[in-house]
């Protein structure tokens, strides 16, 4: 907080006293968030093209509720109302992308406000969340309203199938009919933005090229998914699905590039980031194979988030020490 020393009777500040650093490269939180939202825009467009106006309704409602909730909570707790850094908008957008397009309005409102309250405000506001905020709200909604969050039951009127529940219920032969190119182009149901694999990949690569996220976490996450799925596939290819199928379905790509890289809840440092990604990726396949949840990505990333403080203890050696 820069405090200003004023001479009496002169309105302009003479000196501005603030803590270092004083030399910035021009990068700011709002710029970072804005570019992440920009990277997600093609995903939103693809989702609206595929699911129609329903997707636009969910996305818009979630974003508005997130920003309004953040403003109200910050006002109540007496902190700076810093909603103009777009971080709450991004949280709302990411949460909307995990929902089915048919989510009722009250679920979107409750979930989006919970992602702000439980995910961010209770743990100390923006930048202090120990867990990825949209995923907290997703988990609460998934536990509370199973049938409304279930992709199969809530999206009966589309021509596409939910590949992961097909795999869970009927085994890998049932999913051998899926064309990988179709899956890549988003011809599947799931979280409304998360399944637009092509758009998500494009946005993720844009963020890596612009150096807003390090490539370590996404690549390690995808490698973890791919390796674990390959191990299962090599053990018994009649019971477990192809690793490429696992990479292209559900929210694996979305989680790898946008959820696991959430800056407050992921570790810093090269080795911790790689370990973080690998743990998340391995848990995705373990949850998909053994649990009742068809898509393991949100829970896997939450588990990895819980390990972040431990992973952060792996530090680089100080210079010139043994």
């Amino acid at each position: 907080m820069a405090s200003q020393i004023k001479k009496p009777f002169i309105s302009e500040p003479v000196l501005t006293v603030s803590t270092p650093p004083h030399w910035h490269c021009g990068r700011s939180v709002s710029g970072l968030m804005m570019e992440t939202i920009l990277a997600l825009l093609p995903v939103a467009l693809l989702a609206i093209m595929q699911f129609g106006i329903e997707a636009a309704r969910v996305v818009a409602l979630s974003c508005v509720v997130a920003v309004v909730t953040e403003a109200i909570c910050l006002k109540i707790t007496g902190r700076d109302v810093s909603i103009d850094d777009y971080s709450s908008l991004l949280t709302g957008l990411l949460f909307a992308f995990l929902l089915p397009a048919s989510a009722p309005w009250w679920l979107v409102i409750v979930g989006s406000s919970l992602s702000i309250i439980l995910g961010r405000i209770l743990f100390g506001g923006p930048g202090a969340s120990p867990l990825c905020a949209p995923l907290v709200a997703w988990a609460v909604c998934r536990i509370s309203w199973k049938y409304l969050m279930d992709m199969d039951l809530s999206m009966l009127n589309t021509e596409f199938l939910y590949p992961l529940s097909q795999l869970k219920l009927y085994g890998p032969e049932a999913v051998s009919g899926f064309n990988y190119l179709d899956l890549f182009l988003g011809k599947q149901i799931g979280g409304l933005g998360a399944v637009q694999v092509s758009g998500v990949l494009l946005g993720g690569i844009y963020l890596i090229v612009r150096k807003h996220i390090r490539p370590h976490i996404p690549l390690a996450f995808l490698a973890g998914v791919f390796m674990t799925a390959s191990i299962y596939f090599l053990i018994d290819d009649t019971r477990y699905a192809n690793p490429f199928f696992h990479l292209l379905t559900g929210s694996v790509i979305f989680g790898a590039f946008f959820l696991a890289t959430d800056s407050a809840s992921s570790p810093v440092g090269h080795i911790p980031m790689i370990l973080f990604g690998l743990i998340g990726g391995i848990f995705v396949i373990i949850i998909r194979v053994y649990s009742v949840y068809p898509d393991g990505v949100p829970f896997a990333i939450l588990i990895a988030n819980l390990l972040t403080p431990i992973l952060d203890k792996i530090r680089p050696k100080p210079f010139k020490t043994k």
């Binding site: 009250w106 409750v110 439980l118 609460v140 536990i143 509370s144 309203w145 199973k146």
Partner: protein
């Protein structure tokens, strides 16, 4: 009489067991799925706590200090067995609902804590007043917490429909994480009220 009222009333707000002393949190988190369960658990605790405080206070001069904890546990355990048998006989559905948490009253921190901190060094009438106050405070807290969780988690209150007809139950509240979040909210509210009061006066 004045002293007795003071010992009784402190358990109702100033030293409210789960929300101020943070004692006996295991049943607070585990059995408050419904208001009825919380109320039943609270009644069992009132029974055990009052009688154990009474007995311990009566025999406090006889118990050798070195083995006092063991003696407290023996007294509490026999009372808990009594309450368990009584619940099996008269309120069997509630007994089934509470399950393992009835026998676990033996190691409830609240009961041992009151025995150690109060009953073993105070006369009988004060100990009973203290136990009744703590017990009522515990019961009210459990019923309150159970009521909140039941209203949101099932849409009912003491088994009767409470919310509007199209209400979709917020099942998260009756799961384990909901218990923690609910308790944390209650503690935050208590802290908020305390600071607000201290500012006002």
């Amino acid at each position: 009489m004045n002293r007795m009222w003071k010992e009784f009333s402190k358990g109702l707000w100033l030293e409210l067991p789960p929300f101020r002393l943070l004692l006996g949190l295991c049943p607070v988190l585990a059995v408050t799925k419904t208001a009825y369960n919380g109320f039943g658990m609270g009644c069992a605790v009132i029974f055990v706590l009052t009688l154990s405080n009474l007995i311990i206070s009566l025999v406090r001069k006889i118990i050798p200090p070195k083995v006092r904890i063991v003696c407290f546990i023996v007294i509490t355990a026999s009372l808990v067995v009594t309450v368990e048998l009584l619940m099996q006989a008269f309120t069997y559905p509630l007994y089934q609902e509470l399950g393992i948490f009835v026998p676990l009253i033996v190691v409830n921190c609240l009961i041992l804590g009151r025995a150690e901190a109060f009953a073993s060094r105070n006369p009988v009438h004060l100990s009973v007043a203290d136990a009744l106050g703590m017990g009522f405070g515990f019961t009210l807290s459990l019923t309150f917490l159970g009521g909140i969780r039941e209203i949101f988690g099932y849409g009912t209150f003491f088994g009767r429909p409470f919310m509007w007809a199209e209400f979709k139950p917020f099942t998260f509240m009756v799961e384990a994480p909901g218990a923690f979040i609910c308790l944390a909210m209650c503690l935050a509210a208590m802290n908020f009220i305390t600071t607000w009061q201290s500012k006002r006066f």
